[in-house]
């Protein structure tokens, strides 16, 4: 068995007195899509931010590609191939689409311009509007920009935080289509979502979060078919025994 690309062990994240994440562990094998689902406030974003180095964990270890990155900050992780597509897109609205992509391609190296052109091919709307401010894009288009931007860092692992948030169902389909492509291209994906069904359909395996802890884990087909997930997810049932 090869080493998983990402290994999270006993991770805890606290903000002052708030224990957002309490000792969770999971692995992500290279080339797969793993999803963390849970209701709002379950701690999903905190996990993503801890892995990507935006937030410092208060306990536990994170191993990426064999190295301990628990305390490593984001600006060192991006060149190593770990990027995040943050919650709410967080695109730079006053900068142009081209500039947003250029920011993403900072660690691309030689041939960045060609890489950016590829993105224009793949997402024609970005190409058409490349000189316009990124804030002029619709929600779904911004999500595409955010993903394209992340892909330009040529990551090994891409962390996605609630890509479907605020998007209409049809657009959500498109976004997940892009996620499938990203996966097909060989990039590993860790997906955090509120939209549990969609996420589990796309993933190989999933973990259900409640109040900062993982309460169920398993292959996604199993989880999808299980009605306990609805209990755990909505908080209508008592969680783990």
């Amino acid at each position: 068995m090869t080493e998983p690309l990402l290994s999270v062990k006993d991770l805890s994240v606290s903000y002052g007195r708030v224990h957002a994440v309490r000792g969770i562990s999971f692995d992500v094998a290279a080339g797969t899509l793993v999803t963390l689902v849970g209701a709002n406030g379950a701690g999903k974003s905190s996990i993503i931010n801890a892995i990507s180095g935006i937030v410092r964990p208060s306990g536990g270890r994170i191993l990426f590609d064999g190295e301990d990155i628990t305390k490593t900050k984001s600006h060192r992780l991006v060149p190593r191939g770990l990027v995040q597509v943050p919650e709410g897109r967080q695109i730079l609205a006053t900068m142009t689409i081209a500039e947003n992509l250029q920011m993403g391609a900072r660690s691309y190296g030689a041939g960045a311009a060609a890489g950016i052109d590829e993105m224009y091919q793949r997402f024609p709307v970005l190409g058409e509007r490349r000189k316009l401010a990124a804030g002029s894009l619709s929600g779904g288009e911004q999500q595409m920009l955010a993903i394209a931007r992340a892909m330009l860092a040529r990551p090994k692992l891409i962390l996605m935080d609630e890509p479907s948030m605020g998007l209409a169902p049809k657009i959500v389909n498109e976004v997940f289509g892009v996620i499938d492509e990203v996966l097909a291209g060989g990039t590993t994906v860790l997906l955090v979502e509120q939209n549990a069904r969609r996420a589990l359909q796309a993933a190989r395996e999933g973990h259900i979060l409640q109040n900062g802890e993982i309460v169920r884990s398993g292959a996604s087909e199993t989880l999808l078919a299980d009605d306990d997930i609805i209990q755990a997810y909505l908080g209508t049932g008592r969680a783990k025994e």
Partner: protein, 576 residues
């Protein structure tokens, strides 16, 4: 000789000047205009006051001081009114500019003697200076524990929270400004009548900085701060002189070095080293005391207390809330749920008056929201908690609740100045009421813990206690159970039902759907800014659309049956 007459007088004078900074710093404002107030007050008083021979030295001095205070007050109002909306950096710059403009005006006027300035008879004695300082100190000492003083502190800690409890922030800010003006004016006059020769240069930028250093180094943690700061600033050159340090650059260097060290390592100033006496409550007398507070009568059960008609909010092309219609009746517990980004907080922000709607109307307890300021809505009986705790962190739990009682407590400052016993009684009653609110949420034993020292769950409960202290008829809670475990969430659910039994109407946003189903009479589900479903817990739990909205719809438009199958058993089970 370290303590000459001159040092004694200057400690008192610098103390008064520092108090003029303190007056606004306690409310969280950084104003640098005090030197300007001092300048114009000093010159005006000197120009208008007859020579001492006419009435005698002390009466003429008193006359001059009164003029100085009045001029200071008027100037402060002239500055304070237009700058009401400015905060932080912008306020500091505006006040700095204003002071400089005064200086230039004084410099270029004939009646002031221009750059040469005016000579003024020396009639100030150390006794007068210290009496004035004592009176000013007394004023601020009595202010600390009055309703007014607490309101200023609330504004400093969290202005928005203060507003939502019913504190009129604009009015309080302006009054703090006027206090600063009066004190600065007093300083200007006293200084002139001691130093004998005053020129516009004496009320310029470096004076402002000196005053700021004195106030910040001394500290705003309590009313002794300005005196400590003044002691430091005034004694520093004396100490240096006595120890034989000659170079003239050393005194200002040490002075600002102290400022830097204080702001980096001891932000409350030297005064913060003195432990603060916290407000305590007499637990035995709790029930009788609290009962004396006249409370609101809640609207009759079933009466419509909130009426939303096509309420909508748009942010730059994005429809956060679209045409929501919603009546809420007195005594109901309404749960507002929906996926992330559905518009729940935006809706609640409109109902509590924080943001104006883009279209539609809403009436809350008879008050039309939209143009009504937040504090009036609070006074009408609507209070709320926030998604991210906005507690007054550096105050205790009891003090937080006490400030929460602002709209129901009686003002006590002026009565406290003359030690009227009725003031003491009113304070005790307010304290008892606050303590009872803490007891209601189970925090009475933590009354004397600083808010920032409480556990997260306790902080959420303190927010509720504080909101309760305002005696609302409508209580709005934004994710009160966030971060709570099952036991705590159950406790919260019981509390909410309890409050409802007392006649309160409660609206709360929550993600813990189980808790919502348990607690509410009436649930409203929002999705994409619209009402998706509206009904009783049984109806909502059975509604497939709701489950879909949360868990996500199946991926193809023509969903195959395998993906909708799990919804079937879920219907029966989700009624937990």
């Amino acid at each position: 000789m370290l303590f000459t007459e001159s040092t004694l007088v200057f400690i008192a004078l610098n103390g008064v000047f520092a108090f003029s900074f303190y007056a606004v710093l306690v409310a969280g404002q950084l104003s640098l205009a005090q030197a300007g107030f001092a300048g114009i007050a000093g010159f005006t008083a000197a120009a208008l006051t007859p020579p001492p021979l006419q009435w005698g030295p002390i009466p003429t001095l008193l006359f001059a001081m009164v003029i100085g205070m009045v001029v200071g007050a008027i100037t402060a109002v002239i500055l304070g009114l237009p700058t009401m909306r400015l905060r932080g950096v912008y306020l500091a710059i505006a006040t700095l500019g204003f002071a400089e403009a005064i200086r230039i005006f004084l410099l270029n006027s004939d009646w002031t003697g221009g750059a040469q300035g005016m000579s003024v008879p020396k009639t100030l004695t150390p006794a007068v200076a210290w009496v004035v300082l004592a009176i000013v100190t007394y004023w601020f000492a009595r202010q600390s524990r009055s309703r007014y003083g607490r309101a200023l502190e609330a504004i400093r800690e969290d202005e928005l929270a203060a507003r939502s409890i019913g504190i009129n922030v604009g009015g309080h800010r302006l009054s703090a400004f006027v206090a600063a003006g009066v004190l600065a004016g007093l300083y200007g006059v006293m200084w002139a009548y001691y130093v004998r020769l005053m020129a516009p240069e004496d009320f310029g930028f470096s004076t402002a900085i000196d005053g700021l250093v004195t106030a910040v180094v001394g500290g705003t943690a309590n009313f002794i701060g300005p005196i400590l700061g003044s002691g430091f600033q005034t004694m520093l050159p004396e100490v240096l002189r006595v120890t034989g340090v000659e170079a003239s650059w050393i005194r200002p260097f040490i002075s600002v070095l102290a400022l830097l060290l204080v702001i980096l390592f001891l932000p409350g100033g030297i005064a913060s080293l003195i432990p603060r006496r916290r407000q305590k409550v007499d637990v035995a007398a709790l029930q009788t005391d609290a009962a004396q507070l006249s409370l609101r009568t809640h609207p009759a059960a079933g009466e419509v207390v909130v009426e939303l008609k096509q309420l909508a909010k748009e942010y730059g092309g994005v429809q956060a809330v679209r045409g929501v219609d919603l009546p809420v009746r007195s005594g109901e517990v309404v749960g507002l749920i929906g996926p992330n980004g559905a518009g729940k907080t935006t809706l609640v922000n409109m109902v509590s008056g924080l943001i104006p709607p883009s279209s539609g109307t809403a009436t809350v307890l008879g008050v039309p929201i939209g143009r009504t300021p937040v504090h009036r809505i609070a006074a009408a009986g609507v209070t709320r908690t926030f998604q991210h705790s906005k507690l007054f962190n550096r105050l205790t739990a009891l003090e937080n609740a006490l400030i929460g009682a602002h709209v129901v407590a009686k003002p006590t400052f002026l009565r406290r100045l003359i030690w009227l016993p009725s003031a003491r009684r009113d304070e005790r009653i307010a304290l008892a009421h606050a303590a009872r609110c803490l007891d209601r949420v189970g925090l009475l034993d933590k009354a004397n813990t600083l808010a920032k020292g409480l556990s997260y769950g306790d902080q959420r409960r303190l927010e509720i206690a504080r909101a309760l202290a305002a005696d609302p008829s409508l209580l709005i809670l934004d994710e009160p159970a966030a971060g709570m475990n099952h036991v705590e969430a159950d406790g919260l659910s019981a509390l909410i039902k309890d409050l409802s039994a007392d006649g309160l109407t409660i609206i709360f946003i929550e993600h813990n759907v189980g808790m919502v189903l348990d607690t509410c009479d009436h649930i409203v589900v929002l999705n994409f800014g619209e009402v998706l479903a509206d009904g009783t817990p049984e109806q909502i739990a059975a509604d497939e659309r709701v489950i879909e909205a949360y868990l996500g719809a199946a991926d193809e438009p023509d969903a195959d049956d395998t993906t909708s199958a799990p919804a079937q058993p879920a219907e029966e089970n989700s009624n937990d």
